[in-house]
């Protein structure tokens, strides 16, 4: 067994000697590598050169960035190790240099070789090929655990660091698991697109509708680009929620807890839980939760702010609401109580301790039973509240009362009941606890008892015992007909009077106005026709004269009655009657006039003859009137 062990040791030593021989021959050992052979455009690649020598310290590391890359930052850390084995001292000098290069172009590039100064010259390490691909098409690059920043004032693990754990690379002690080692993205944390480059805050609530007092859980995550170097946050401002009671669900808010990785916009991001709060709405309405913000002291980052969120808050349902329920008492509660001692003297006091247990919006006070002779003093309250299971806020709240009993006998303290709304079952429930009976011994001497205060609100009336009941009340002013009658009645009277007056005037006008000339002409013509059929020649001639005058008036608008012969002819001519016709008409009328006043009388035949001529003249006037231009008017109308 011992021989086998010795054999293994000798073989190992021999291997080590054989491996170290070339390095010793050269005096320096140089190795170089890159952290990724394929990166996306805009990402960075880190070239690391490690030089070690046992004779002289390598120094002055250099790397010329290839075209298409920009040097972002670089650093070098020399090491010196001394070992003394069996009294023999051995020195080992080392130098580790890193260059972080950002890709600016697509393509395949050669990075390196980097070189160091050694033994009066420069020694070069290996070079590596790096391919730059389009964003979103590359593979996540493996990343080695980073070391603490050498100049971190908090030392990377100081308990005084207020932002410990928020960013990778600075406090890796809090996130020992490498997020790149087999990236396992949580779909629940995925987002469509990042809210900012390199790092951003994202806030969510577990519900957007709640009742007053119902817990709404606000969660704020910090997303960090796994492929970018993270800066240090400062100037942290908490999310404002003035319309809520805010309680933390995290034991330590100074730590950010890595909760997983997520793919956001096609890229991997580390997700850390920054805040988790239970918010209890104080009132109804659309309540706002302000953003949380912090500033990251890094180029292209600056201030980061989470979303402003809104929660629609309503009152719990009125249906089945128990008496004594106070808006805001929402959660799941139970009560227990102890009363001690159970036997006291009159006007003495007992202690009642009521423990309210559960989760939700714990009420600050409890309704105490009202029993005559029992005086409840202000309680002392003690809280044991915090996060409980399933991200609920709860615990216990203990109320310690001193209760003075002023009556003797067995006093039942009754029960304390707390109606509450359970948001889980969406129903009301009542937590209750019985306080038990206390035996009170009658005091031998008269105690001062409670102070007799000046009577308040004396002479109040006695309460009523029967509801008045509702009666549907109607209002006249709600009926349009009322307003119509109100103003319509006087207006109607005025309108009726006005209309009746107008009608009366119209009738009077109609009554005073003569018949139309054509109608008169027709009537006169009929009279003439009738007259010529009778034996009275004079009467017939008078009727003929009137009929002719009426026809002339109707046809020409010229009233020739009382007009002399020439004047009548002129007027008829002016009215468009041909001269011959006009003279004929005037002659007929003259003959009628002459015959009527003839002492010898007029025979019916003469009258009939004259009537025949008259009708011809009427026709002629009518024809001439229709063929002639319209009369220009006459003053004798």
């Amino acid at each position: 067994m011992l021989a086998e062990l010795m054999g293994i040791v000798i073989a190992t030593l021999a291997t080590l000697v054989a491996w170290s021989t070339p390095a010793l021959a050269q005096g320096i050992d140089l190795t170089g590598n890159v952290d990724a052979s394929e990166i996306e455009l805009g990402d960075t690649v880190t070239y690391t050169l490690e030089a070690s020598s046992s004779t002289e310290a390598p120094s002055d590391p250099r790397l010329n960035p290839p075209a298409g890359f920009t040097l972002v930052d670089s650093g070098a850390s020399p090491t010196h190790m001394v070992s003394i084995i069996n009294g023999r001292r051995t020195d080992k000098h080392g130098l580790t240099a890193r260059w972080r290069l950002r890709s600016d172009r697509l393509g395949t590039f050669t990075v390196g070789p980097a070189s160091v100064a050694f033994a009066g010259g420069r020694r070069s390490g290996p070079s590596h090929r790096v391919t730059v691909v389009a964003p979103g098409t590359g593979r996540p690059k493996p990343r080695r655990p980073q070391r603490p920043a050498p100049f971190d004032p908090f030392g990377g693990g100081s308990p005084l660091d207020p932002f410990r754990g928020i960013f990778p690379g600075i406090d890796d002690d809090l996130s020992p698991s490498d997020p790149f080692a087999g990236l396992n993205a949580d779909p629940n944390l995925a987002l469509d697109s990042p809210r900012g480059p390199i790092a951003f805050l994202h806030a969510t609530v577990d519900k957007t509708r709640a009742v007053v007092g119902e817990q709404v859980t606000l969660t704020v995550y910090l997303y960090e680009d796994l492929q970018a170097r993270q800066g240090r946050p400062s100037d942290v401002h908490e999310a404002t929620a003035t319309d809520f009671v805010k309680r933390s669900l995290l034991q330590d808010e100074t730590r950010a807890v890595h909760v997983g990785n997520a793919i956001v916009g096609g890229r991997p991001w580390a997700v850390k839980l920054v805040r988790k709060n239970a918010l209890f709405p104080l009132k109804t309405g659309r309540l706002a939760i302000g953003p949380m913000s912090l500033t990251i002291s890094q180029t292209r980052v600056g201030q980061r702010e989470s979303e402003t969120l809104h929660v629609d808050v309503s009152e719990p349902p009125v249906a089945n609401r128990p008496a004594g329920y106070q808006i805001g008492d929402t959660g799941e509660f139970s009560l227990s109580a102890t009363t001690a001692p159970r036997e006291i003297d009159q006007h003495g006091a007992v202690g009642v301790t009521v423990e309210l247990r559960g989760n939700g919006n714990m009420p600050a006070t409890l309704p105490t039973p009202e029993i005559p002779g029992v005086e409840w003093l202000e309680p002392q309250t003690r809280d044991g509240l915090g996060p409980v299971s399933n991200d609920k806020f709860g615990g216990t709240r203990t109320f310690s009362y001193v209760v003075r009993l002023h009556k003797d006998g067995a006093i039942d303290l009754g029960e304390i009941r707390l109606p509450y709304f359970d948001p889980t079952t969406r129903a009301y429930a009542v937590a209750r606890t019985s306080l038990g009976i206390v035996q009170v011994q009658k005091a031998a001497g008269r105690d001062a008892g409670p102070d007799v205060a000046e009577p308040l609100l004396p002479n109040l009336p006695r309460f009523r015992t029967a509801l008045e009941g509702s009666r549907e009340e109607t209002f006249l002013t709600e009926r349009p007909v009322y307003w119509g009658a109100l103003f319509g009645a006087p207006l109607l009277c005025v309108s009726a009077i006005a209309v009746s007056g107008a009608i009366r005037k119209a009738r009077e006008r109609r009554a005073s106005a003569g018949p139309a000339p054509s109608q008169v002409a027709r009537e006169r013509r009929a009279e003439a026709e009738a007259a010529v059929k009778r034996d009275d020649g004079k009467a017939a001639l008078a009727a003929i004269a009137r009929a002719f005058e009426a026809e002339i008036l109707a046809s020409t608008g010229v009233n020739i009655r009382g007009t002399s012969g020439d004047g009548a002819v002129r007027e008829l001519e002016d009215a468009g009657v041909p001269e011959g016709t006009a003279r004929s008409a005037v002659k007929i009328l003259s003959e009628c006039e002459d015959a009527r006043f003839s002492p010898s009388g007029v025979s019916p035949e003469t009258a009939q003859s004259l009537w025949k001529r008259t009708k011809e003249a009427i026709d002629a006037i009518g024809k001439g009137k229709t063929s002639a231009p319209p009369p220009s008017g006459s003053g004798s109308r």
Binding site: P455, R464, L467, E468, L476, T477, F487
Partner: protein, 279 residues
């Protein structure tokens, strides 16, 4: 042995049934407004104002608007004050109950009792303000116009206006029909008077209707509330609003109510002003 077990099981069943029966009683009272009101009566009679308040408030939550319920609620709050278990705002809520009673009731005796109780409550508020050195004016009263409108009920104004309209119509007709000069003069005079009264009473009827439909009033239920300006900062030079005072609610938004109290116009938190129910 079996018999004993059977008896024990029977006893357990009876006990469970009794428990279940007792549990059923509570929801019955929670659901039934009459039972709630009866419970409140019993609590008031037994000098348990807190329980009475809880039940009467539950009654109001169920949409029961009744003058007697409001009156008893006011008495319950007053009783809690009197019992020495006063909570902030109890006097204001008592005043609110009585104001609501006056607004709702048709019973003159109940209205008189509510007025009397309101006076007692406001006297107590005035006494406390006096002790604190604050102005003691509690009831600012209404404007002249509002006072005139409130002289008669809306329907009475409406009927009077209608009568005036008929009188005016009759005067117009009579003046037209009659020929006697004296009759014409009498008709003209009557018509002028009726027309003027028609105008006035119709405006009052309309104002009463407008007040019924649009005027919102409340009672301040917070002791010494400070009126706030548009930025919701306390107004300078304005005395704190007394508890129990009646205020006109102009508008409500974002948790604040714009109110007019005794000629002062400002904002109060909505929770500080309890609206008065109307018929």
């Amino acid at each position: 042995m079996n018999r004993k077990l059977s008896l024990a099981a029977l006893f357990a069943c009876v006990a469970l049934a009794a428990t279940a029966r007792a549990d059923e009683d509570a929801p019955q009272e929670q659901m039934d407004p009459s039972a709630l009101f009866r419970g409140a009566q019993e609590a008031l009679a037994a000098d348990r104002p807190g329980e009475a308040i809880a039940k009467l408030e539950a009654l109001a939550d169920r949409g029961i608007v009744d003058a007697v319920a409001s009156f008893d609620r006011g008495l319950a709050y007053a009783a809690r004050v009197r019992a020495g278990a006063e909570q902030p705002g109890d006097l204001g809520r008592a005043a609110h109950g009585f104001e609501e009673t006056r607004e709702l009731t048709r019973d003159p005796s109940l209205a008189a009792d509510a007025t009397s109780a309101l006076t007692i409550v406001r006297s107590e508020v005035a006494r406390r303000r006096s002790q604190a050195g604050d102005p003691v004016e509690i009831e600012h009263g209404f404007s002249l116009g509002r006072s005139i409108v409130d002289v008669l009920p809306e329907n009475v104004w409406a009927v009077v206006a209608l009568v005036m309209a008929l009188a005016l119509s009759a005067a117009i007709v009579v003046r037209r029909r009659l020929t006697l000069p004296r009759a014409k003069v009498a008709a003209t005079t009557s018509g002028a008077i009726a027309g003027s009264l028609l105008l006035i009473t119709s405006v009052l009827a309309w104002a009463a209707r407008d007040a019924r439909l649009h005027l919102r009033e409340g009672v301040v239920v917070v002791p010494n509330a400070r009126l706030l300006d548009g930025r919701h900062l306390a107004m300078d030079g304005v005395a704190p609003v007394p508890e129990g005072v009646r205020a006109r609610i102009v508008e409500e938004s974002a948790g604040f109510s714009r109110v007019v109290v005794g000629g002062a116009d400002g904002y109060l938190p909505s929770s500080a002003v309890l609206p008065i129910a109307k018929r």
